[in-house]
């Protein structure tokens, strides 16, 4: 559910980047931060370990602009991908409006992709949510790896029913990053006023 601030005439949405460790969630946010012009973004907050692994979350507020008199804003979060940070990961999903699932194309991360999706389903269930109830976009990242698995193979383990829109990405070069964010934003906005 979006947060509406009538007094300041703001509508805020929470979008969470989920996925296994080192799949590129923080890289997505860093690219976005680097490319969005000043005045349309706030400060990026990263709660990371010394070796730059996400410890709690990254946070980046974006300002879409004014729509029908309402300032429309997106709060982007990443979760820590490493398996043992599940308690923190669960907290970040509270009140989520849309999800980008960042999958890794490396052959040795196929199982990690599947486990992360299963973990996301379990954590959403704790808030009474199902993946099917939320806008979810699948980003298959690291397409530049020489041994990258076919997109369909990655998709088969995280989204066997082919339910989510899929974007190929090389987040380190920004490829597919905006496309993914734009799609999840579009899906989230499409639910405004629809009673969802």
């Amino acid at each position: 559910m979006s947060t509406i601030n009538f007094a300041n005439r703001e509508i805020n949405f929470k979008i969470v980047y989920y996925g296994p460790g080192l799949s590129g969630k923080t890289t997505n946010l860093k690219w976005i931060y680097g490319k969005i012009p000043e005045g349309r973004k706030g400060e990026m907050v990263s709660l990371a370990t010394e070796d730059e692994r996400t410890l709690f979350f990254d946070f980046l507020p974006l300002d879409l602009g004014e729509v029908k008199g309402f300032k429309t804003r997106f709060h982007l979060y990443t979760v820590p991908g490493q398996v043992f940070y599940n308690a923190s990961r669960k907290l970040i999903l509270r009140g989520v409006d849309g999800i980008v699932f960042v999958a890794d194309s490396a052959p040795n991360r196929l199982r990690a992709n599947a486990e992360s999706m299963r973990n996301m389903r379990e954590n959403l269930a704790e808030y009474g949510l199902k993946v099917e109830d939320l806008p979810v976009v699948l980003q298959v990242n690291k397409r530049d790896l020489p041994d990258a698995l076919p997109v369909e193979m990655v998709r088969a383990v995280v989204d066997p029913e082919g339910r989510f829109p899929v974007f190929e990405a090389v987040a380190t070069e920004g490829k597919g990053v905006f496309e993914t964010l734009k799609e999840v934003s579009r899906l989230v906005l499409a639910r405004v006023g629809s009673g969802a």
């Binding site: 947060t3 979350f57 946070f59 602009g65 429309t72 709060h75 509270r94 405004v192 006023g193």
Partner: protein, 163 residues
């Protein structure tokens, strides 16, 4: 449980602003924020004499994250909740208290504000804000946004992220 959308409008919003203003006056704190548990600012007030505050989005997000972690810790230890949280540095301090199930009160204060007063009036304010939040949740205002909103928002997405 799906997180309900806490929307303050009209009377409840004005009363929340009054509570924040009074709390600033009584405690001598610099900034008072009423935020939801997702980390969004519902209302905020700054003391007239206070310097420019830090980015409120970042403040609210970190406080909400911290509160969520604190609550999870309480549960691990078999407690229903740990209520207020106080952080104090050499010059600045932070007081956070639950304002009901879905919101938090945040007070940012400096060394001139007595901690006892901050806690006393912070607790009172949190209770008043909890009642307002409950009232707002029981009577959510209707948001008349239609397809036009979605179309206009889509055009802005094109502008920001490219076609």
């Amino acid at each position: 449980m799906v997180e309900p959308s806490l929307v303050l409008y009209g009377g409840p919003y004005e009363r929340a602003m009054d509570v924040l203003e009074e709390t600033l006056r009584e405690t001598g704190a610099r900034y008072a924020l009423f935020i939801d548990r997702k980390g969004f600012v519902l209302a905020h007030k700054e003391a007239l004499w206070a310097p420019k505050p830090p980015p409120l989005d970042s403040l609210a997000t970190l406080v909400a994250g911290n509160a969520a972690a604190t609550q999870a810790l309480a549960k691990l230890l078999g407690e229903a909740r740990f209520q207020e949280v106080v952080h104090q540095g050499e010059r600045m301090g932070l007081y956070v208290d639950e304002a009901g199930e879905h919101a938090l009160l945040v007070l940012v204060f400096d060394e001139n504000a007595p901690l006892g007063k901050v806690k006393l009036y912070g607790k009172r304010a949190a209770e008043a804000l909890a009642r307002l939040a409950a009232e707002a949740l029981a009577n959510p205002p209707k948001l008349n946004l239609d397809t036009q909103y979605r179309e206009e928002a889509k055009a802005l997405l094109d502008e920001l992220f490219g076609n």
